[in-house]
Symmetry: C2
Subunit: 363 residues, 2 copies
C-alpha cells in the first residue's frame, strides 16, 4: 500500500507550519507542540489507557492511534508525536526491558560486557514492531498535521541498559564509557543501528519528521559528549538524510552541548528553559531550527504567569522563522490541559514567524 497516498500526504503537509519552521522558512504562525502531549495529563487518556505496562498499550495500534490523536484534537497543536517509547526497539528484540509505572524503563539483566552485545540483534521493524508501523499508517490517514516519529538516541538508551533503570548520576554508564571505550562504542553503534531501522520504518510508513531523544546527554561534559556520543548520533542523522524529513534532537541541560549537537547535522535542536532562545541561537554556528523552551514547571503557575513566560519566549525569538514552540521537557502529569490549550492560543495568536528565511541551503 501507500506509495501514492503517502506522497500525497507528504505534499499536502509540506506547507504546514511545523515543517516550514523545520526548514527555516517564514510562515504565518509559530508552530507549537508539546513533548509528551499524549499521556497522563489528559483525562481522556486516563479513561482509555487502562493499567498494565505502557508497552502493552503501545502494542495496540487502535489504542495508540487514539492516544496520539487526543492532544491534537484538544489543543490544535501543529504536530502529532507517535505514542510510543524509546525502549520499544530494545524491548522488541528481547533485551528484557519493561517500563514500571512511576519509575521508568527497568532492565532485568543490565548490559555489562561484550557478551551482552549478542543480546542486541538487528531490528526488523515489520516483524518486530508491526504495531508501531500500523499505528503510524492509521495516523497518517487521520491527521491533518505532520506526524513526528522518533527513537531514543544511542547514549540515552545505553544509559538505561547499563544502569538497569533511570539514574541520577550515570555512574555505571560513565565507568563503562571511560573504562572500556571500545565496548561502549560498540554498544552505541548497535543502538544507532536500532534507531536507524526504527525511524526509517516510521518515515516509510508515513511519518513526516523524526526526533531523536537524547534526554540525558546533558549529563556529560562537552569533551566527553564529542568523543563518546556525538559520532553515534551523527551516524543516525546521516543514515536517514536520504528520507528528506526534518531530524530533530532533544535533551535537557544541554546548554553547553548545543553547538556539538548541531554538529551531528540535525535540522532542529531542542533547547531547555535554562538557555534563552536568542542565546541558544548565538551558540550554534550553523542555521538550525530551535525548539523549546518553556519550563514545564511553569505550567503549574497562574495563567497570567504562564502567558507572560510564553510571550517572553516569543519575544526572545523575535520572529525568527526557524523556531518551533515547545516545552523544555515533557508535559508533567500534574499539568492542567486547559493551561496547555491557552499556551497554544497565545503562540498562535501572538507568535510571529515572518523574519527572513535562514540560509539553510548553505549549511
Amino acid at each position: 500500500m501507500g506509495g501514492v497516498r503517502l506522497a500525497a500526504v507528504t505534499s499536502r503537509l509540506a506547507d504546514s507550519a511545523y515543517l516550514r519552521a523545520c526548514r527555516g522558512e517564514p510562515g504565518d504562525r509559530v508552530p507549537v507542540w508539546f513533548q509528551r502531549q499524549a499521556g497522563r495529563s489528559l483525562p481522556e487518556y486516563r479513561a482509555i489507557r487502562g493499567t498494565g505496562s505502557i508497552l502493552d498499550a503501545i502494542a495496540q495500534p487502535d489504542l495508540a492511534t487514539e492516544i496520539t490523536l487526543q492532544p491534537v484534537r484538544r489543543y490544535g497543536v501543529d504536530a502529532a508525536i507517535l505514542y510510543s517509547d524509546i525502549v520499544v526497539p530494545v524491548h522488541a528484540i528481547g533485551f528484557g526491558v519493561d517500563i514500571k509505572p512511576g519509575v521508568g524503563p527497568v532492565v532485568e539483566q543490565p548490559f555489562r560486557s561484550g557478551a551482552d552485545l549478542e543480546r542486541l540483534r538487528p531490528l526488523d521493524p515489520e516483524a518486530d514492531t508491526p504495531y508501531v508501523l500500523q499505528t503510524v499508517r492509521n495516523l497518517v490517514g487521520e491527521l491533518d498535521v505532520p506526524l513526528i516519529g522518533f527513537a531514543g538516541a544511542p547514549f540515552t538508551v545505553a544509559s538505561y541498559l547499563i544502569e538497569g533503570g533511570p539514574s541520577r548520576n550515570y555512574t555505571v554508564t560513565k565507568a563503562l564509557m571511560h573504562g572500556d571505550p571500545q565496548l561502549f562504542g560498540r554498544l552505541l553503534d548497535r543502538l544507532a543501528d536500532l534507531a536507524i531501522a526504527s525511524v526509517r520504518s516510521q518515515v516509510e510508513a508515513g511519518a513526516s519528521a523524526l526526533q531523536l531523544f537524547d534526554s540525558w546527554a546533558g549529563a556529560l561534559s562537552r569533551e566527553d559528549y564529542r568523543r563518546f556520543v556525538q559520532p553515534h548520533t551523527r551516524k543516525v542523522v546521516d543514515a536517514v538524510a536520504d528520507l528528506g524529513v526534518p531530524r530533530a534532537h532533544f535533551g535537557v541541560t544541554t546548554g553547553e552541548l548545543l553547538a556539538a549537537i548541531a554538529e551531528t547535522g540535525v535540522d532542529v535542536v531542542g533547547v531547555d528553559w535554562r538557555v534563552p532562545i536568542d542565546e541558544a541561537r548565538r551558540r550554534i554556528p550553523r542555521p538550525v531550527t530551535l525548539q523549546g523552551n518553556l519550563d514545564p514547571g511553569v505550567l503549574m503557575a497562574p495563567i497570567d504567569v504562564v502567558e507572560s513566560q510564553v510571550r517572553a519566549i516569543l519575544d526572545r525569538n523575535a520572529g525568527h522563522p526557524a523556531f518551533v514552540f515547545n516545552l523544555g521537557h515533557g508535559v508533567l502529569p500534574e499539568t492542567d490541559p486547559d493551561v496547555l490549550h491557552r499556551v497554544v492560543e497565545v503562540v498562535h495568536d501572538e507568535g510571529r514567524a515572518d523574519g527572513p528565511a535562514d540560509p539553510r541551503g548553505s549549511s
Copy 2:
C-alpha cells in the same frame, strides 16, 4: 573561650593555599578539596558511622569531628568541610525533617501555606545546635587547614520543605513560587535568617570560610532565579560580610546562572563539569574565585583517564590564582579513595597558581 586562640588560628591559616585562592592571591599550589569528601566512600567512615540517621551522627561532636578529619588525614586536602547537613537547622527547630538513607531529606508535613511559616522559628545556634558548634570547636583545635562551615541556601532548603523530599521536577516548588510569590518570598526570607544564624555561629566558633549549598537552583531559568531566589541568597551573603571569611556558592546545572550567582556578592562560585573553567570565568563579569569542576562520574574511570581530565582542568585554568580544585558535585559513594588521593597528588604536583592576582579589591 576562644577569642585569642581563634585569632591565632585564623592568622595561622590566612596564608593557607585555600584561603589565598579564595582571595584571588597567587600561591605555590592549587588548593583542592572534595564536596562530600567525608562519608560513605571511605572505609574508615563506614567503620565508625553505625546505622541510624545521619542526623544522629551529626549530633555527636566526637563522632562528627572524627568523620570530618578522616578525609583530611587520608588525602591531604587543603580544606576540611564540617560533617553536617543542610537540613540541620530546620530539623533543630522542629520542622519535622529526617534524612532517610538512600533517599535524602524527607519532611513529615511539607510546607503548604502561610500557617506553616509559624513552624519556622528563628534558630538559636547555641541552644538548638550546640553539637554543631562543639564539633567546630573541636576541629579548630585539631586542623592545620581551614574548616569550611556551611548552610543550605534558601531555595534548595525550601525545595525540600515544599516537595517533602528530593524532587526531579520541583513541580510543587515552582507552583508555589509562581502562584504565591509573596508567601514563597516569606519562606525564603525565613530560611535566609536560619542560614545566617547557622553560618555566623559556625564562623564565630572558628570556621575559616563558609559555603552556601544551592544545589538545585540550576532547575530554574535565569529570569526566575534572579527574581525569586537571588535576593534571598544575597541577603545571606550580605549578612555575613562583616565576618571577613570567604563565602562560596555551590550548585549544579548552573551554567546559565553563573553571572547571576556572582551578583549575590559571593567570593567563590562553584562550577559543575558542564562548563569549562575558562568559559565560566568569561561568563562572570567580576573577579571571583572559581571552584570545580571534575565530573564525579569520571572518578569511576581508569586512573589514566582521571589524571588526564584533572590535567585538562588545570590547563583550562592556566595558572589563574583564583581557583580551587574540586568536583562538580559530591563524591559518589562508589568512589575508590585511592583515586581521590591520586587527584590530590596531581593537583598539588602539577597545578599552578602563579598568575597575577585578580583585582579583587575593586569588585
